[in-house]
Structure formats: C-alpha cells, structure tokens
C-alpha cells in the first residue's frame, strides 16, 4: 500500500479533481492519495468524486489559511 502526495495548492476547480482522475489509473487498490488544496470548492469536489467513483474519503483535515488535506483510499 503506497501513499502518494498531490499538491494542488493554488489550483482552482476543476483541476484538482482532474488531476486526481489523471492519477487514478496509477493507483492500486488500497493505495492512498493525499491531496493538499485550497480552492473554495476543493473539499466538496473531492467528496463528490469519491462518492461517484466509489472511492473512500478517509480523512479531511483543516490546515491553516483555508488549506485542506484530504486522503482518498483507492
């Protein structure tokens, strides 16, 4: 099981979710993608992505200056 980091700070919707989609084929079941973002709709977009794609949104952590760190398990 690997943990892969994706820095999406400063990147606006819909690019964070598109980047997650780009990385999805590289992930194997059980891998965790940890995404850092600060777009206002970042958390909502990732939650929608997880629900529609059947992925597990493991955690959402608030960090300083509107940053959020979200872990997705594939």
């Amino acid at each position: 099981m690997a943990v892969v980091m994706l820095d999406m700070l400063g990147v606006r919707c819909p690019h964070p979710v598109l980047k997650i989609a780009v990385m999805a084929p590289e992930m194997t079941p059980g891998d965790i993608l940890e995404v850092l973002g600060d777009c206002p709709t970042f958390e909502k977009d990732v939650r929608v992505y997880c629900r529609r794609m059947g992925k597990l949104c493991l955690s959402v952590m608030d960090e300083s200056e509107n940053k959020k760190r979200i872990q997705i398990q594939f």
Partner: protein
C-alpha cells in the same frame, strides 16, 4: 527585374494578411500570393502543459473564434478522459456554439462582407465599410444589427462565463447549470434572433439578389472552383455545427469519404508553402496536384457553402426552405461559385437562430446534472466541430501525468487555404492579365474573392 505590388494589410477579415502581386520585367502579371505574416507557435508551447488547460489556452489563438476552439478543445478532452457528456451539458454547449455562430456570421455578413454585398466593387473606397453599409441600409437597420449581436453575445456570456473567452467547458460537461430565470431570458433573446434572421433573409433578397452586382459576380468564371467539400453532418445527413460524422463529397456531389474525427489523419494532410505561415490542407488519398481544381486535385473547401454542399439540408423548416431556394436558384447542389458563400452564410444564420430557439426551449436545459466526472485518462483525444469558417480539429496527446506531449490543430481557414489561393490566382489572372495599370475596382474584386471565404488568418497560423 519585375516588380511586386503589395496590399498590406488586406482589410475586413479576421487576423492579419497581405497580398503580393508579382509582375515580370515587361510589366506582365505573373502571380498572386496570399500571405499570413504572423507565427504564434501554440502547438509547440502548449507541449508540457496540463491537458485540461488546453481548451482555455488554445482559444487565445484568436479573438474572433475562441468559442469554436473551446468547443473543439473540450470535446478532445471528453475523448481523452473517456467521459460522456450529460444531456443538459450537451444542450448548453450546443446553445453557446450556435449563439457564437449566429453572432459571428452576422459580423461577416454585415461588417466585413457587407460592403461587398450591399455596395459593390466600384463604390468609393471610403464608403466600402460598415458605415457605408449603414448609410445604404439606414440607421434603423444599423441599430438593429448592433442590438441583436449585443443581445446574443450577452446570452453567450451568461453561458460561457466570459463575454469573449469561454471558461465553462470541462471534460464531461460544463461548469455551471442554467437557471430557470436564465432560460426564460434566453427564450426571449432567441425569438428576437429568429425574427432578425428572417428580416436579414428578406433584406438579402430585396437588396442583394435584386441588385446588379451579386448575380454578375456570382457567375464570373473565376469565381467557380470545382473542388471537393468537407463538413459535419448528423445521422440524417443534415448540417450539424456541434457534432456528427465528417463527410467529403467530390466535385460532382457524390460522397467521397465519411469518417469519424479520430480518423482525420487518414484523410487530410498538411503542406508548408514558402510564402506564408499558413499551412495548406489537402486530401491525402487524392494527393497534392498543384493549384488546380477538379476530381484529380486534392484541394477541398469547408465553411458555409461546403456544409450546404455536403449535406442534404437542415432539420429546421425556415433554413431548409432557404436552402432549397438557394439550390434551385443556383442550378442545384453542389454549388461551386465562391461568391455563393455569402448566401450560404445567411442560410446558416437562419439555422443557428432556429436551433437556438429549439435548444432554449428544451426541458433538460435547466437540469442540474451538467457534468460527469472522469474516472481515468487515455493517451489521446480528438475533438471536432464546425467553426463559422469551417471544420476545426483539436488533437491532444498526453503522457501518464496528464501533460500534453503533442498538440495538433487543424483550423478552418487552413482547410480553405489552398482553395482561397486557387480562387485568387484564377481571379487575378482573369482581371490583371490584360491590364497595364491596376485600378481600384480590380483590386477590390480581388479582395472580394478571398473575403467571401471569411478567412481567419489569426487562427490559420496558430
């Protein structure tokens, strides 16, 4: 050493272009060259960028046709990310695209080509512009033209998120749904657009077809080029701006090829010319045989006249009626006179208006499901649409990180580049071969030849 007469810049077209007329030592006319003097390099500097940025980046090629680039770009991303578009998003994209074509065709019909249609080649130079057109048609007509373009542009801006460069298209759909209030506004505007289009058709019949210039120019031998034609058609063979199958017909009107956008490289090839940054496209399997027409030459044309030539008409009643009227008046399809592009453009204005009325009434237009999320990504995507000036392809190749490895854009005016050069050469030989002094009217007719195509040199060099 002979001399070169340069017309630089040529006017009332999109982008920058020039004409070079070449004479020999004895002062005899030799040839004419249409030049695109700019080089931009979009295909190269887009390499390495995230593919999802490309519909927003590539549309900056042009300040006139960004919507067409945005549509072709997001369709390439749909293909690349392997994601289908929800019905509401498809309707929203198509409504925006039709609004763009309506407004862009009006720009050419009245502002750029209007002086060629409503005034004629021997009017004083200072009147051959949109002010001369308004003087001829009256200020009420001028105000009406300006107002409808403004309203349709506002509709476009509401959907696209920007008055000029759309930001709404995403792989799998669009970023924003249409509210019931916006839909109600759209229905008012599109009805006005349809009423305007019907008025414009009447104006064309009364002022242009009944006038002394148009018929004469239409029938001149140098206006006729027996080429192949290409355009998108829907499942019933009707004109389609947004999507469909690519159809090529031969000069007699028989279907030569029918293919999907992804197969474009099997049918089309590009050639570089030494005098212009605009590459010329030709039919790969027929081959490049020089600036000649006929079934043995790979030169083909696109745009309004080509779309009418390759299709069996329109799926809307008023455009279909005008299509049949035009075909009957010009001896049946296919029509080969370059000057008929203007009439074909007017038929498409009518179609775009009718299509906007239909799309703005669809129940699904206000559906909130406007986007499907991509699940993964492939390595290549091709998008195609009909831009006002003709067929437009965007082809993106991506690496495993989603960065562009290759970008190939086949732009509408490139498809027409060889046809425009052919028309110009034939017209210049016919007009200038027996003249020792070039008069203003002759030069104006030369400009009218290329202007009928509504070329966009800005896009063509990308």
């Amino acid at each position: 050493m002979g001399k070169i007469i340069s017309i630089d810049p040529i006017t009332r077209l999109e982008g920058h272009g020039s004409l070079r007329l070449v004479y020999d030592d004895e002062g005899r006319f030799q040839d004419v060259y249409l030049q695109a003097p700019d080089f931009k390099g979009f295909e190269k500097f887009c390499e390495g960028r995230a593919v999802e940025e490309l519909p927003a980046l590539t549309q900056k090629i042009c300040g006139v046709c960004p919507t067409a680039h945005h549509i072709a770009g997001v369709k390439a991303l749909d293909d690349l990310f392997g994601v289908a578009v929800p019905p509401a998003a498809r309707a929203i994209r198509e409504l925006m695209h039709n609004a763009f074509i309506f407004e862009d065709h009006l720009l050419h019909f009245f502002y750029l080509g209007g002086a060629d249609l409503f005034l004629g080649p021997d009017e004083p130079m200072m009147d051959r512009n949109v002010f001369g057109v308004i003087k001829k048609l009256g200020t009420d007509a001028g105000a009406r033209i300006i107002d409808i373009r403004k309203q349709v542009r506002q509709l476009h801006a509401t959907i696209s998120g920007s008055a000029l460069y759309p930001v709404c298209g995403l792989p799998g759909g669009v970023s924003k749904a249409i509210s019931p209030e916006e839909k109600a506004q759209f229905q008012v505007i599109t009805q006005k657009a349809l009423a305007f289009a019907e008025w414009a058709v009447g104006l064309f019949h009364d002022r242009v077809l009944e006038g002394r210039h148009y018929g004469s120019l239409l029938a001149r031998p140098y206006m006729k080029s027996d080429t192949y034609y290409m355009g998108l058609v829907d499942a019933d063979g009707n004109v389609s701006f947004y999507d469909g199958t690519l159809r090529i017909i031969d000069p007699k009107g028989d279907v030569y090829a029918s293919f999907e956008a992804a197969d474009y490289l099997s049918h089309l090839a590009e050639r570089v010319v030494p005098y212009s940054y605009m590459k010329q496209l030709y039919l790969k399997q027929v081959g490049w045989k020089g600036l000649v027409d006929g079934p043995g030459s790979g030169i083909y044309r696109v745009g309004p006249l080509a779309r009418l030539n390759v299709s069996s008409g329109f799926d809307t009643p008023l455009a279909q009626t005008e299509y049949e009227r035009m075909g009957a008046a010009l001896g049946g399809w296919p029509v080969h006179s370059t000057f008929a592009y203007h009439w074909a453009r007017l038929v498409e204005i009518l179609y775009a208006a009718e299509n906007m009325v239909r799309l703005s009434s669809l129940e699904q237009l206000t559906d909130s499901a406007v986007r499907n999320l991509p699940e993964g990504m492939g390595s290549s995507g091709v998008g195609v649409c009909e831009a006002p000036r003709g067929t437009l392809f965007h082809h993106y190749d991506a690496d495993r990180k989603g960065l562009a490895r290759g970008v190939n854009l086949l732009v509408a005016t490139q498809n027409n580049a060889a046809g425009i050069q052919l028309s110009l050469s034939e017209a210049a030989r016919a007009i200038l071969a027996h003249q020792t002094e070039i008069d203003d009217t002759s030069l104006n007719v030369l400009e009218m030849v290329f202007r009928a195509y509504d070329p966009c040199m800005a896009c063509a060099t990308h």
